[in-house]
């Protein structure tokens, strides 16, 4: 028995060490990620719950296992407005570095609470899963100890936070791929899983923009390859995470191409993953550009602070006046969201390729893994 426990424990420790090597993110770099994420939330993903107040209470139909099931209906208007404003304020605090650990956890709680009601129409959306995971993992990191207005104290959990986020992302991808594996890998050219997504989107939901029409010209063999590629892609991140930083970042670049293709062909927008993939490209790129020592660095930080305060104020004014949407304050849903997704994913791919090129020039050594960035 002891032998088995020892073997399992050592296996876990070794695996964790390898994952940490793939996902290394020193404190200084994670503080840049914190600012990026806070600004990104304010620009593209500032949740809005106030509209729920315009909906009849009888539409309240929460999932069987949801926090909102503890309530008898949607919350009152005042509470929804408070949730909206808290989301904006905590996103601003994350960006500015005002007690980031508390702000991240508070944002997470408000986000989960508000979304529990948003998803109480009988359907759970999955778009915000990785945002929750990121805030949970980095709440215990050192991302609020530097480049912050009110810095946090260092945490011993920091080296694990980016590793844990990598594990959660890999597991999320596994949940998307596992059921496809059982259904799509059938070695039968006459059935296709990708086409099921495509036809339903194209004909039933009107997803006919960008390159969608080109799918009609895809040969059956290509369609079958797409099915198997999707399964392999969604089941492989954990292996890449263990294999090393080059494999992990290569998978992230592939994932960005996957999201770009989804936007172009299926018109599916999934942009909450954008800052998360960027986070793993930041370390080699920031090391290369020596941004920390750049003469304009402090000015850029101050400009970011100023910019996020302005954006947050606009958000709050709009929310209080009964308006406001999640993305870029006024950007409507539809084709503009698709183009936004194209631009963002293209940018992430460029960053990813640059980080891979840098990796080839200067592979990350084990000493980098211990580097605390201070």
């Amino acid at each position: 028995m002891k032998r088995h426990i020892l073997f399992m424990a050592e296996l876990v420790e070794e695996t964790l060490k390898r994952i940490q090597r793939s996902t290394v993110m020193p404190a200084w770099h994670s503080s840049i990620f914190r600012m990026l994420l806070g600004t990104y939330i304010l620009l593209f993903s500032a949740s809005n719950f106030s509209w729920i107040n315009d909906v009849p209470q009888s539409f309240f139909n929460p999932a069987f296992l949801s926090i909102s099931r503890l309530f008898s209906g949607f919350p009152p208007a005042e509470l929804l407005i408070i949730l909206d404003i808290l989301i904006i304020l905590f996103a601003l605090f994350i960006s500015l570095g005002v007690r980031s650990r508390f702000s991240s956890l508070a944002f997470l709680l408000v986000y989960i609470f508000g979304n529990s009601f948003r998803y109480s129409f009988g359907k759970i959306d999955h778009g915000g899963v990785m945002l929750m995971a990121t805030l949970l993992c980095f709440s215990f990191s050192d991302w609020g100890t530097q480049n912050a207005l009110l810095p946090d104290k260092p945490s011993s959990f920091h080296p694990l936070s980016s590793a844990l986020l990598g594990i959660l992302l890999s597991f999320g991808m596994f949940t998307a791929g596992f059921e496809k594996l059982l259904s799509w890998v059938d070695f039968d050219l006459s059935t296709n899983g990708f086409l099921d997504w495509f036809y339903n989107g194209y004909f039933s939901l009107g997803r006919q923009e960008l390159l969608a029409s080109s799918v009609f010209h895809f040969p059956p063999l290509l369609l079958e390859v797409l099915d198997y590629s999707a399964v392999i892609f969604e089941l492989s991140p954990f292996l890449c995470l263990i294999a090393g930083p080059l494999f992990w970042r290569s998978w992230l670049v592939l994932a960005s191409v996957f999201h770009l293709a989804n936007t172009s062909l299926l018109n599916i927008v999934f942009i909450t993953h954008v800052p998360i993939y960027c986070a793993y490209f930041l370390y080699p790129l920031l090391e290369q550009t020596k941004l920390k020592k750049h003469r304009h660095f402090r000015k850029t930080i101050r400009f970011t602070y100023f910019f996020t305060v302005i954006i947050s104020t606009l958000h709050i004014v709009l929310r209080l006046s009964g308006n406001g949407v999640n993305s870029l304050l006024i950007l409507p849903y539809g084709i503009s969201q698709l183009w936004l997704s194209i631009v963002l994913w293209a940018g992430v791919i460029i960053l990813g390729v640059l980080s891979l090129l840098h990796h080839r020039k200067k592979p990350l050594s084990s000493s980098n893994f211990q580097h605390n960035g201070s």
Partner: protein, 185 residues
């Protein structure tokens, strides 16, 4: 180094965290695998969509659900744009709201079915649908929407239509109403 020493040197905190992580990830996903209705929120679960279609088919069939109301101008039952009719509710929730019969039916029970009948299915009711004041408010809300769309406000129809699309021309070649439900307001 002997086993006893190595066991004592193990990082117990890391092992405990690993166990918690495994439980925190696998239990919610197992529940979803057992029954999609048991998917918890929050959980680390991404959309799977494992369905598939015949690749060599000439037509693609799908079921479209739409709201119809009696237009006061044309004196016909006209299809309404779901997005504007249910605004500000996002379009993706429409099917679930229809399945819940707009919360107008206090007798409606939701069934949790397990895959391959591993466990017996069970039903539950929504507490909000049991409140008659909520139902009256929902009816008033729907009547208001019907008026805004220039329709008679006493009833609406949710019609489920099987649509066949000719894949060569990409136009609807056949439409068959397979089910419809009238909601008296």
């Amino acid at each position: 180094m002997n086993k006893e020493v190595r066991l004592r040197m193990l990082n117990k905190k890391s092992i405990l965290l690993t166990l918690l992580l495994i439980i925190g990830l696998t239990v919610p996903y197992s529940l979803k695998l057992l029954s999609p209705q048991l998917e918890p929120y929050p959980a680390i679960i991404f959309p799977a969509g494992p369905g598939k279609v015949k690749g060599s088919q000439d037509t693609f069939d799908f079921i479209a659900s739409n709201i119809y109301c009696f237009d006061l101008l044309t004196k016909e039952w006209e299809r309404q744009d779901t997005l504007s009719f249910l605004s500000p509710i996002p379009r993706q929730y429409f099917q679930a709201i229809v399945k819940n019969e707009f919360g107008l039916n206090p007798k409606l029970e939701h069934t949790v079915k397990f895959r391959k009948g591993i466990f017996p299915s069970f039903t539950y009711k929504n507490s909000s649908a049991l409140d008659l004041a909520n139902i009256d408010h929902a009816k008033a809300w729907l009547r208001d929407r019907l008026q805004q769309h220039g329709c008679m406000d006493s009833s609406l129809i949710v019609r489920h239509t099987r649509m066949s699309v000719d894949l060569a021309t990409r136009v609807v070649s056949e439409m068959n109403v397979i089910d419809e439900k009238i909601f008296k307001l």
